[in-house]
């Protein structure tokens, strides 16, 4: 990695992100706002819960990805940053899913509530 010889100046010239990303950011923010609106409406639409939940899940992931890849510049940064963050994200998410699954199992229903 460090053997790839390049100077600061050389790199900056072609990267060309000195132009403002103002419009891009504003557009994304608008998209995010719209998605949030859709989400809020979606919960009241009389579709089967599974459909609504899936829609909510997908929309939240889209929002999430927009923020990390654009607002947090992952898109323009070294891929390593993305990997680093996703390690935490995947482990955190995985633990969450595992714990919830474990507690949904029949063997784990609390004594006081369901089977005294």
């Amino acid at each position: 990695m460090s053997s790839s010889v390049s100077t600061a100046t050389g790199h900056a010239a072609d990267a060309g992100h000195h132009e403002s990303r103002f419009h891009l950011y504003v557009q994304i923010a608008m998209i995010l706002a719209v998605i949030t609106g859709i989400e809020v409406v979606a919960v009241f639409v009389p579709f089967p819960p599974l459909v609504v939940i899936t829609v909510l899940g997908v929309l939240s992931v889209v929002k999430f990805m927009f923020v990390i890849f654009y607002f947090m510049h992952l898109r323009w940064d070294k891929i390593f940053c993305t990997i680093l963050f996703f390690i935490g994200l995947i482990l955190g998410g995985g633990t969450l899913i595992a714990l919830i699954t474990l507690f949904r199992m029949h063997a784990s229903i609390p004594l006081t509530f369901s089977n005294p």
Binding site: S2, S3, V5, G88, L102, A107, S108, P110, T112
Partner: protein, 645 residues
């Protein structure tokens, strides 16, 4: 080439003059004496401090262990009270894991990582000092119970709810335990973030990731495990603390709380934790074996990759500590299989170490003895781990002395043996003197015999139905003989440990003086003087192969050229940039201590004072900036300092 060098070291990123703080007092510059140690940001000094604290706590934990064993020497013994016994094993476990093995590993991270990657310090030197002092704060709070009327906590090292609740432990001992652990977590996370950045970002030119020494790789994985596992216990502790202080009911049974959740959260942390304890030792072994076999590590890439695999799978097996909690058949099966899977990457490491020996020219020096001992003992411990992983068999083993045997094999036979090897191996590097070889070998054999005598019989005790955390046992259980044997062996083990550290202490003053490279080492740290100068490297090394120093030794001309080029570049930059010392990490540590103390003793004024001190220290720390000064080395090797620019 010159360009590559520019990238290597941390150049002063802020080239303006160092800010005179003007914040109450001037920035310290004394390098010696108490002030020097308290304000140091030098990774080597910080490492030494970590080591001193860790060894102290190791001896404390060892004495606790001997008291435990003494109580168990004969049946129906009342030498120690039941409650005191509970305090002893709780503090023994907690101390050994959090205050001895982990900080000793942290000591080696500090001492070795910058040297192995050819850097002048870690990425955030003051954050590093902060981690150290926060560790000291946490360790002190944790042990404070011994000096208070309430006594130390008696809840077991994994503090299962609801035993830690106000109902069952009304005094502050559990608060001290929870708060101490929480603070230690802060220290670990801060230190680990630092090491991650250091290893990834501060490598010398040419030192690609796949040329990184294996120890540094393992340190990287360990740091990742720490930052990812610690949050789980942090949350769990927050919940306990809320229960105790604010009347919530996370684990309050009568109001719907679920004590089982504590177990899940604890082991989500707890299992990765055991790999946090063993991965660095695997790193030491992977450095020591090649040196004394005089041969590179067999299957470098595989060893590295298996470390990552162990770390990753390690997050998915936590419930193997909960096989007897009625998880249901499906979950039990899943965790059982996942646990077994860990044997594969671990086995790969063992096989590669054997491969390293194979065809080598093996020198039986003391570190090598400990390393070979490590392989044997860790293998045995791993095998009893596999026996645990078969859930039905574990139903008979869980919470018996079989588990005690398993984890002392991996923790002493594994982690501790490797640490003793590492101390002996790197001692000459940091103190310029050799540890006495004869006494080293004697200590090894005493420890080896004592250790096996203590813990091997525990397998039988466990299978014969002896539960762990047994304060006393009746004489009709057929456990008498083995217990006495274990206790006597534990004293032998204690004598061995004593010989070991006595030898190290003696060698510090009287040991044979040695040069740079007494073992014919392979990694960069052996290329610089012993003890290393403050700036580590007069010229940042250029790495041209794995086992960089070995390569340099065998390609002298090339190495010479690289050095000259490096020196030239650096001189052009205005000399070697060094970070300034600072009071604020230390003050922040004190703030943390006071806050923790106040909180765990239900004394808000102290809590707020502590938090205030912490916040102010951090703010001033930010304001004073990294600072820095330059070193200039002339042709004769004399070092001069220059401040300002």
């Amino acid at each position: 080439m010159a360009d590559a060098l520019v990238k290597s070291d941390f150049l002063p990123k802020e080239a303006h003059a160092p800010v005179k703080t003007g914040l109450l007092f001037a920035r310290p510059t004394t390098k010696t004496g108490l002030v020097g140690w308290l304000t140091t940001v030098d990774h080597k000094k910080i490492g030494v401090l970590y080591a001193v604290f860790a060894i102290f706590f190791f001896l404390v934990g060892g004495i606790e262990a001997l008291l435990i064993r003494t109580q168990l020497i004969v049946p129906n013994n009342h030498f120690i009270g039941a409650h005191t016994y509970g305090e002893l094993f709780t503090m023994h476990g907690t101390t050994m894991i959090f205050l001895a093995v982990m900080p000793l590993n942290a000591a080696f991270f500090n001492l070795l990582i910058p040297l192995q990657i050819g850097a002048r310090d870690v990425a955030f030197p003051r954050l590093n000092a902060f981690s150290l002092w926060v560790f000291v704060a946490g360790a002190t709070i944790m042990n404070l119970g011994w000096f208070m009327p309430t006594g130390a906590p008696a809840v077991g090292w994994f503090g299962y709810a609801p035993l830690t609740s106000k109902v069952f432990t009304p005094d502050v001992s559990a608060d001290l335990w929870a708060m101490g652990l929480q603070i230690l977590g802060v220290s670990s996370i801060a230190a680990s973030l630092n090491f991650i950045v250091t290893i990834i970002n501060m490598r010398a030119p040419g030192l690609t990731m796949m040329r990184l020494p294996v120890f540094t790789w393992m340190a990287l994985f360990t740091s990742f495990l720490l930052v990812l596992a610690m949050p789980a216990i942090a949350i769990a502790l927050v919940e306990v603390i809320f229960d105790r202080h604010f009347g919530t009911m996370f684990f309050e049974v009568s109001r719907g709380g679920q004590p089982i959740l504590w177990q899940h959260l604890f082991w989500v942390f707890g299992h990765p934790e055991v790999y946090i304890l063993i991965l660095p030792p695997m790193g030491y072994i992977s450095e020591i074996l090649p040196t004394f076999s005089r041969k590179p590590l067999f299957g470098y890439a595989v060893v590295v990759f298996s470390g990552a695999t162990i770390g990753f799978i390690g997050f998915g097996v936590w419930s193997h500590h909960m096989f007897t909690t009625g998880l249901g058949a499906v979950a039990t099966a899943a965790f059982s299989l996942a646990t077994m899977a860990i044997a594969v990457p671990t086995g790969v490491k063992i096989f590669n170490w054997i491969g390293t020996l194979w065809g080598g020219s093996i020198q039986m020096r003391t570190p090598m003895l400990f390393s070979l001992g490590f392989i044997w003992m860790f293998m045995l411990g791993g095998f009893s781990g596999i026996m645990h992983s078969a859930a039905p068999a574990d139903a008979q083993q869980q919470d018996t002395y079989f588990v005690i045997a398993h984890f002392h094999y991996v923790l002493i036979g594994g982690a501790t043996f490797a640490l003793l090897a590492a101390i002996h191996y790197w001692f000459p590097k940091f103190f310029g003197r050799m540890v006495n070889e004869t006494w080293g070998k004697i200590s090894f054999w005493v420890i080896f015999v004592g250790f096996n005598g203590t813990f091997f019989p525990m397998h039988f005790l466990g299978l014969n139905g002896m539960p762990r955390r047994t304060w006393t046992y009746d004489s009709n259980m057929e456990w008498n003989g083995l217990n006495m044997f274990c206790t006597i062996s534990a004293y032998v083990l204690g004598i061995g440990i004593f010989i070991y550290f006595a030898t190290v202490a003696w060698s510090y003053f009287k040991g044979e003086k040695v040069g740079n490279d007494p073992w014919d080492g392979r990694t960069l740290e052996w290329g610089i003087p012993s003890p290393p100068p403050e700036h580590n490297f007069s010229a940042i090394p250029t790495v041209r192969a794995r086992d960089a120093w070995w390569h340099a030794k065998h390609n002298l001309e090339e190495a010479q050229r690289d050095t000259e080029a490096a020196i030239k570049v650096e001189a052009a930059q205005g000399g070697i940039h060094m970070p300034d010392q600072s009071w604020f990490p230390f003050f922040a540590g004190i703030g943390m201590f006071l806050a923790g103390l106040g909180f765990s003793n239900y004394f808000p004024p102290l809590t707020f004072t502590g938090i205030g001190l912490l916040v102010v220290s951090i703010y001033f720390w930010a304001l004073e900036g990294p600072g820095g000064y330059h070193l200039h080395i002339d042709k004769n090797g004399n070092v001069t300092e220059s401040h300002g620019h």
